[in-house]
């Protein structure tokens, strides 16, 4: 176990060094959230006048949603670096050392979580600048960032699994494109649940992205802590299942060599 943690940290440090070499990617990944908050948020500013929103400011409503959406994308691309490592022979090199196999996945998941933590902090700051106001206090806001990181971990593990099985960037991009829009729109990221068509509301109930959005918004606004905890529990189970799937995919990858 201690070697697992040691190896995980060493490999996470490698990913952090890479990110520090190319910090531009953190900035690039913030372009979309800036558009969502700055343009979309302004465009639909008066939507909160409809009944069903728990807040009177759309930016306040939207910011947790955009944080979760960005976390979803951040996690989704984690598998790209796995494919790059396969292509460059890095995975083979690691597998020929005594390094813990689980650490190879865990490091990537941990790195994704850390990156998303920073990104969601920046988006939160942007939301506050644009006028979002939250009543959940510092603890609530930290919780939102951790919820984003938790979702990113699960999606990141899943993305690594797909990457290991597909070993093609095109396949991973296709899978991500296929999932990202539906899962985002089948959630309350942009609109309050009571305003959704009944069938979308039903699908949203089983959508991990929506669990994260609801938990994040609840924590930020400081409302209904019971709801936050149940969503959080669901999300934790989802993340664990994703990590198990990624481990299975990694075993399959090793056998396929």
């Amino acid at each position: 176990m201690s070697w697992f943690l040691w190896d995980t940290w060493q490999l996470t440090w490698r990913q952090i060094l890479r990110t520090l070499r190319l910090p531009i990617w953190i900035a690039v990944s913030l372009v979309q959230p800036i558009i969502w908050l700055g343009l979309y948020g302004q465009l639909f500013r008066r939507i909160v006048e409809l009944p069903g929103f728990q807040t009177t400011s759309y930016i306040t409503f939207l910011t947790p949603g955009v944080m979760i959406m960005t976390a979803f994308f951040g996690g989704g691309w984690a598998g790209m670096s796995m494919i790059d490592d396969h292509d460059q022979g890095v995975l083979s090199r690691l597998l020929a050392t005594p390094a813990s196999r689980g650490a190879i996945i865990a490091a990537r998941v941990l790195h994704t979580a850390l990156t998303v933590l920073i990104q969601s902090g920046l988006i939160l700051a942007l939301g506050l600048i644009l006028g979002a106001r939250f009543h959940g206090g510092a603890l609530g806001l930290i919780s939102v960032m951790l919820i984003a990181a938790l979702l990113a971990s699960g999606i990141g593990a899943l993305s690594c699994g797909v990457g290991l099985l597909a070993r093609r960037e095109e396949t991973l991009i296709a899978v991500m494109n296929f999932l990202s829009m539906p899962l985002t729109f089948l959630s309350t990221a942009f609109i309050a649940a009571p305003l959704m068509p009944r069938w979308i509301r039903a699908l949203a109930r089983i959508n991990p992205v929506n669990w994260a959005v609801e938990a994040a918004r609840g924590a930020a606004l400081g409302t209904d802590s019971g709801m936050v905890l149940t969503r959080l529990a669901l999300l934790a189970v989802f993340t664990i299942v994703c990590c198990l799937l990624a481990t299975l995919a990694f075993r399959r990858y090793q056998r396929a060599l």
């Binding site: 060493q10 083979s92 090199r93 020929a96 390094a99 396949t171």
Partner: protein, 330 residues
């Protein structure tokens, strides 16, 4: 225990039906450079991947320093350094960072890791480039870093899979020097795969010629060449005349064998220098004009030809049929 690598009867068939290994066996002694020589697709990389615990064989056994690669992979991994064809370094890390990461994953204590990294970087002429990201390295520098990564934890065995493929002649010569120095130190066994005959001849203490997943000949380069008694006389007579030249020469008492190679016939004879005038005269008398004639001492190419019935160079461009690294799934 004097044999560091013992490979017996390895077989491996990939899911796509390619029989990569077909009962491959060889043994490597402590401190020697052992070469696996063969064309692309002969099974060299597959063998190395099995020995490095990356791939499982269908049957057969392989032991590294006494540990079974299938049943004791974790112990095997502590004994080996693996330098694959695809380098496996992180392009966005510096040379030193790559080395230290490897050292830590090999569980070297921090102090020793730093010392060992400095030592290797200096020895391999990378000290000045140590803190630059690998993406700025030349092919030769990258290869030397790969070697350093393979050696950082002082393994008993290091695998070098096609170490000089894709290098320019200068970088290749530099790498040869490094490997010869390693051999002189005698502290490590090296299993090297190559499809360059001169490389096998120059670097390897012993080598195995691999063809279609099997070892067809094994020994020191000198032994292998000595097995082919005599010299090779190449007589260029033009394509129309080769069949006739062959039948004329086959009857001569000086001649062991004759084969046709393009516009020339190649006769194997005990003494090239004395046989050459006889062969030329005989051919001329039969009305066959000899355009050029040459005598060669046997080379590894001849050894390869002798054992496989094919000339080595013809196979050079064959596509790599290796499954595993670089393959794509669905």
């Amino acid at each position: 225990m004097d044999e560091v690598i013992v490979v017996e009867g390895l077989r491996k068939r990939y899911a796509n039906g390619v029989q990569a290994l077909d009962g491959l066996s060889f043994r490597v002694k402590r401190g020697e450079i052992f070469g696996l020589l063969g064309p692309n697709g002969a099974g060299k990389s597959t063998t190395v991947r099995i020995l490095a615990t990356l791939t499982l064989p269908d049957s057969g056994t392989a032991r590294i320093a006494g540990f079974d690669v299938v049943r004791q992979p974790q112990q095997v991994r502590r004994q080996i350094g693996y330098v694959a064809q695809a380098s496996g370094v992180d392009r966005w890390l510096t040379g030193r960072e790559n080395l230290l990461l490897q050292a830590r994953l090999e569980r070297l204590p921090a102090r020793e890791a730093r010392q060992r990294a400095d030592e290797l970087l200096t020895w391999l002429g990378l000290a000045d480039a140590a803190d630059r990201i690998v993406n700025t390295y030349s092919g030769g520098m990258r290869r030397r870093l790969d070697i350093a990564i393979g050696l950082i934890h002082r393994p008993a065995v290091v695998f070098l899979d096609e170490p000089t493929t894709g290098l320019d002649p200068e970088a290749r010569a530099a790498l040869w020097q490094i490997l010869l120095q390693l051999r002189a130190a005698q502290s490590i066994s090296i299993l090297l795969t190559t499809h360059y005959l001169d490389e096998a001849d120059r670097l390897c203490d012993r080598l195995a010629i691999v063809d279609h997943g099997r070892v067809v000949a094994e020994g020191t380069p000198e032994e292998l060449k000595a097995e082919l008694q005599g010299d090779r006389v190449t007589l260029e007579v033009g394509r129309e005349q080769t069949a006739m030249a062959r039948s004329v020469l086959t009857g001569l008492p000086e001649v062991l064998t004759v084969i046709v190679d393009g516009p020339a016939v190649i006769a194997r004879v005990p003494h090239g220098a004395s046989a050459l005038p006889v062969l030329v005269t005989t051919l001329e008398r039969a009305g066959i004009t000899v355009q050029t004639a040459a005598v060669h001492r046997p080379s590894l190419d001849d050894v390869y030809l002798h054992h496989t019935g094919r000339r080595f160079e013809d196979e050079r461009e064959a596509p790599e049929m290796l499954a595993g690294a670089g393959t794509k799934g669905w």
